[in-house]
């Protein structure tokens, strides 16, 4: 396998919270163009990993390389600008903005870091067409003018996904995209992830093993902050250590 096959790589990534090691010496290698799942019992350190990769948290030790470039010292907004865009475990939308405006906030990023407070927001109308397309892609175009806070839970997650895709990220990090959803919504979001993953790389935390089995090319199992196993679904589900980790602590 060629070296530049990896879009993101970590080396000895660790995070300590006041003496407690939440992430221990994690070596991750996310191959370009794949869907990579990060699974593990609650408290395993999955969200912390996401926070480290996107620099919302500073690692205690270890290095992160994206597209061959060391990004360990960058700030979160810089990481996002390079093309790593994350979603959050708790759905993150801009509540008082409409669905359309939510997506537009992402689209207007291409104007650069602009502090033009004297300009009318009518310049943003140029993005309306693209924003509606994205809302349509996730099936909520009818809600374009509705404040995000008033959307149903599944619609919020769909909106979050549309906002994330709007940035055309090279690497998407999705933290439990189907958590708390009804079965139809899960199916729909899974299909959506599969669809938007084309031409991109996705790293996702997911508890729904059916979704994991269906979507992921590679699975990394995390337990107590450490990588327990890695492989495809067949390998992982046959691994006795993985079964033990899941039985040993409550799956959630």
């Amino acid at each position: 396998m060629a070296v530049d096959d990896a879009i993101l790589e970590t080396e000895g990534l660790s995070k300590e919270f006041r003496g407690f090691l939440a992430v221990k010496n994690v070596h991750l290698r996310i191959r370009r163009g794949t869907i990579h799942a990060l699974i593990g019992p609650n408290g395993a350190g999955k969200t912390t990993c996401f926070n480290l990769l996107t620099k919302f948290l500073q690692p205690t030790a270890g290095r992160i390389r994206f597209e061959g470039r060391d990004i360990t010292a960058l700030r979160p907004a810089q990481v996002a600008k390079l093309g790593i865009v994350r979603s959050f475990q708790i759905s993150a939308v801009f509540g008082h903005l409409t669905a359309l405006e939510n997506v537009r906030v992402a689209l207007q990023r291409e104007r650069g870091e602009s502090f033009d407070f004297w300009r009318s927001h009518s310049v943003l109308r140029a993005y309306d067409g693209r924003a509606r397309e994205l809302l349509a892609a996730v099936g909520i175009e009818a809600m374009a003018e509705v404040p995000a806070a008033e959307l149903a839970y599944g619609q919020k997650r769909a909106l979050e996904l549309a906002t994330t895709i709007a940035l055309e990220p090279a690497l998407m990090l999705l933290d439990e995209p189907t958590a708390g959803m009804g079965r139809e919504d899960v199916g729909r979001i899974a299909a959506l992830i599969k669809q938007v993953a084309k031409g991109r790389t996705v790293l996702m935390v997911e508890h729904n093993l059916a979704v994991v089995a269906d979507l992921s090319d590679t699975i990394t199992v995390l337990a107590r902050g450490e990588v327990l196993a890695e492989g495809d679904y067949a390998q992982i589900s046959a691994d006795p250590r993985v079964r033990e980790a899941y039985l040993g602590s409550e799956e959630g």
Partner: protein
């Protein structure tokens, strides 16, 4: 994920951006009211309302649209009052340059305070702004150029552009009205600019804005500086109008008053701070005879107001008509 068809009312209530005709209508009404107001009300009273209305609008830009609650905004208002007073009286600058200088001083101060404060969140942000403003208060208490307890008195109003004598209250009123509208429109534009859209996103969910690649600290700093500068515009104008800059202008109670005005009128509303300023200034005028009791009565009215109208006067009104005001 069934797509439910939403009632038109929700759509109307959000009134997002496009057009906002009722805002234009509101502004036209406001302008008309302020043009004819001197026929029934004293210009001096009106000028006081306008200066504080601008101050409250500048404050609201920060708390209402970025979600940053500053407890130290008197620092910017008062600094500008001193700066304008000093420039007009000691340096003999014409009023427009004195106010411009005052605004610039507050902008620089805002940049410095903002830089120190914006890294903190919530109550810590409020406490740091309060602490910085208090330090500045004690500095002005000691500094020779502020005149200590006396303040800077008898500041000359001078001639605008060297031509128009501002000694006449009505003439002064038209100038203040123009300054107010310029400031108000700039704030309105800011709220409805692409930049303002990012500010609202930060207010709603800062981590999400960061994850989309926005360097939120820089946006907050620009907003803070802008708010400080406009507070300075209000403070500098006030010093020229009342020919006085004093410790009252930098005191923490002044910071409290602007919070009160924004709250009473409605945080995060376009017209709320103006209504709030009018209410608070009127109350102070009517209650002036009560001496020290003013603060207590004002406090009681404030509590009643907040209990009765949680969103402030204009905020509640906006809910009634189903449009953002």
């Amino acid at each position: 994920m069934a797509v439910r068809s939403e009632p038109a009312a929700i759509r109307a209530a959000t009134g997002t951006g496009n057009g906002l005709r009722h805002h234009q209508l509101g502004m036209a009404l406001l302008a008309a009211a302020l043009v004819f107001a001197p026929l029934v009300l004293y210009p001096v009273f009106l000028m006081k309302v306008l200066c504080f209305a601008l101050f409250a609008c500048a404050f609201n830009l920060l708390v209402g649209y970025v979600g940053l609650l500053s407890f130290g905004h008197a620092a910017f208002f008062g600094t500008a009052a001193y700066a304008a007073g000093h420039a007009a009286k000691v340096w003999g600058l014409p009023p427009e340059l004195a106010v411009l200088f005052a605004t610039a001083c507050s902008a620089v101060l805002g940049l410095a305070f903002g830089w120190l404060a914006i890294r903190r969140q919530g109550i810590y942000f409020a406490m740091i702004t309060l602490a910085l403003a208090q330090m500045l208060y004690f500095f002005y208490l000691q500094a020779p150029f502020t005149g200590g307890e006396d303040g800077i008195q008898a500041i000359p109003r001078g001639r605008l552009f060297g031509l128009i004598d501002l000694a006449n209250d009505l003439v002064m009123y038209w100038v203040v009205l123009a300054v107010f509208f310029a400031g108000f429109l700039l704030i309105y534009r800011t709220i409805h600019s692409p930049f303002g859209q990012v500010l609202k996103a930060i207010r709603e969910n800062e981590p999400r804005a960061v994850s989309l690649g926005y360097d939120t600290d820089r946006y907050k700093l620009v907003a803070f500086t802008l708010s400080a500068a406009l507070s300075g515009l209000a403070g500098g104008t006030k010093a020229i109008v009342f020919r006085l800059a004093s410790l009252t202008d930098v005191h923490w109670t002044m910071s409290g008053e602007v919070v009160l005005m924004a709250l009473v009128g409605g945080l995060g509303t376009v017209f709320g701070p103006i209504v709030g300023a009018a209410v608070v200034v009127s109350l102070q005028n009517y209650l002036a005879g009560l001496g020290h009791w003013v603060t207590i009565v004002q406090g009681l009215i404030f509590v009643a107001c907040v209990l009765a109208f949680r969103r402030g006067i204009v905020g509640e009104l906006a809910r009634l008509v189903g449009k953002p005001l």
